[in-house]
Symmetry: C2
Subunit: 357 residues, 2 copies
Amino acid sequence: MGNYRIAVLPGDGIGKEVTSGAVEVLKAVGIRFGHEFTFEYGLIGGAAIDEAGTPLPEETLRLCRESDAVLLGAVGGPKWDDNPPHLRPEKGLLAIRKQLDLYANLRPVVCYDSLVSASPLKPDLVQGVDFVIVRELTGGIYFGQPSGRVVENGEEKAVDTLLYKKEEIERIVRMAFILARGRKKKVTSVDKANVLSSSRLWREVAEEVAKQFPDVTLEHMLVDNAAMQLIRAPKQFDVIVTENMFGDILSDEASMLSGSLGMLPSASLSASGPSLYEPVHGSAPDIAGMNKANPIAAILSAAMMLRLSFGLTAEAEAVEHAVRQALALGLRTADLAPSGGRIVSTNEMVEEIKTAV
Amino acid sequence: MGNYRIAVLPGDGIGKEVTSGAVEVLKAVGIRFGHEFTFEYGLIGGAAIDEAGTPLPEETLRLCRESDAVLLGAVGGPKWDDNPPHLRPEKGLLAIRKQLDLYANLRPVVCYDSLVSASPLKPDLVQGVDFVIVRELTGGIYFGQPSGRVVENGEEKAVDTLLYKKEEIERIVRMAFILARGRKKKVTSVDKANVLSSSRLWREVAEEVAKQFPDVTLEHMLVDNAAMQLIRAPKQFDVIVTENMFGDILSDEASMLSGSLGMLPSASLSASGPSLYEPVHGSAPDIAGMNKANPIAAILSAAMMLRLSFGLTAEAEAVEHAVRQALALGLRTADLAPSGGRIVSTNEMVEEIKTAV
Ligand SMILES: CC(C)[C@H](C(=O)O)[C@@H](O)C(=O)O
Ligand SMILES: CC(C)[C@H](C(=O)O)[C@@H](O)C(=O)O
């Protein structure tokens, strides 16, 4: 019987619909298991720019810091695409990651049996896929300085900086090993050590950390090869750990193994305070407000919150089970259409899942 | 009736076998069409480290500069993996790209009808796939300075620099538009403009260049989305243009659309001198010297040389036709096994193709 304060930041586009679905499911969990969840809402992204003049208002940050966990929707949309860099919705997302020290982004990639045929890959390749991408989220080229435009000798240039400190690598690789211990005991560290200095440091640190986990196997894979192996033979993976940008690219690619980006949840664990949970997908402006979005990624993100922030394992499993069951019953949002079944709205999917919790 | 000097740099591992196959095919073309090709050999990569103490000897560079085109195999292998950075085989590859000003790396991705079932993707998704990735090859994070290790306040860090000058972006994007004009008239420019300064400059420049090509459509796609779209709906692409590292990752991923990395040729066009042709695949140390490697990527690279460096269109088509025919006859190197057919050696495949030229 716990009391949990959850900060909800719906953001933009379908972010609103899918977080609202996840909140409904959490409420159902509260009733069934006798917990009290309180939900307090904050602004982020384009919505925050419109209402507060900045993509991450101080008030939102304060709310998050006072909460036990944060549920985020998605940010961005064409409305703000031409804004100057500091007034872009994505800046809010990057800022909250940095401010809350959300260094470890866990993106599980699971292919549900009933969605095997939703994947563009052949069924035998994806059936049984179950791995997790551990993406470093507060370092690398997303945050390195200098980053900007310069004019030198009349030449216009732009620069970004990929920077990693040893400790930043250490903590994320350690997280990967800890996860692997509870799984199939294999870590694949993805880098570009044949070209990048930062990757060579990454590889060294990974080797060092591995010594503390003699029961877990470590392999290194170059990022170009990883992009290929993910679709060539995805079942070889258990835990993939990689730097920020590579993780961004590989996880979107990997979403196709689960049938749809609308299926991928994520947890962004903090080194110091509350963690944040968000679907991997974006704000999908083209279908926003149409009651068509797949709420499952947000709902599974809420399940990750139950497990990882509140230690509520049975509750998390109940949610995951309800999702599995809705899919097995043949309910499909539009993004999952290729796998047959009955096309339902966001609301119908949420309804089914929350009553099955 | 032309005279052409070709520098051949076999490099390491299967690089030797596949370039030797491509040379045989070029000789057959010479006989059939009455051209004289002379082949002169140079060292690069691990082989050059072993014999000359450096991954790119001056002599090799001189040979290339005096030639009409360069045919390269592949570099690298476990033997040199623990060498210091400047004595690694890949340094030879990066150095030759920079020294010969090979800024435009063209990687066509074609799914041959007879290989449709070799792809991990569903047949209807890959049948008819035909696009080209135009990868910037002499800039970006591969070459930006600073790049290295620093210790600051007792903290160990590593840094790499992603730098692009406006002109570097201009010339590669223009190349993409020129290619698109001769194709389906669509350019997809891939960047990460919601995060990177260099990508924002990239996008601006792409927009500017597009104005000179009103008959060609330009679309922008974020790299994470591109990694997904490549397997979700690959037929949407005609010409993809992107910066060095993104191109590296996306082209290895895209190789799976053609069934095997062993199918992908590439041309690296120079701004000023001879261009270079090489398979996209690496040196595959595990199968080196076993007469198992797929020589088609190298042979198709030679076809690109005929077309792009020598303007020998009919000759290039003869080679491409011979490849298509060998595949249609059911010949398969081991990497193509999933598509049925008869498993043959490197030599058998070369033999078949060269007699069909
Ligand atoms: C919106 C964007 C800044 C973000 C990222 O690149 O991290 C997104 O793609 C993600 O993966 O969460
Ligand atoms: C070997 C390596 C340096 C090279 C690269 O990253 O460019 C290779 O992967 C390629 O794609 O040609």
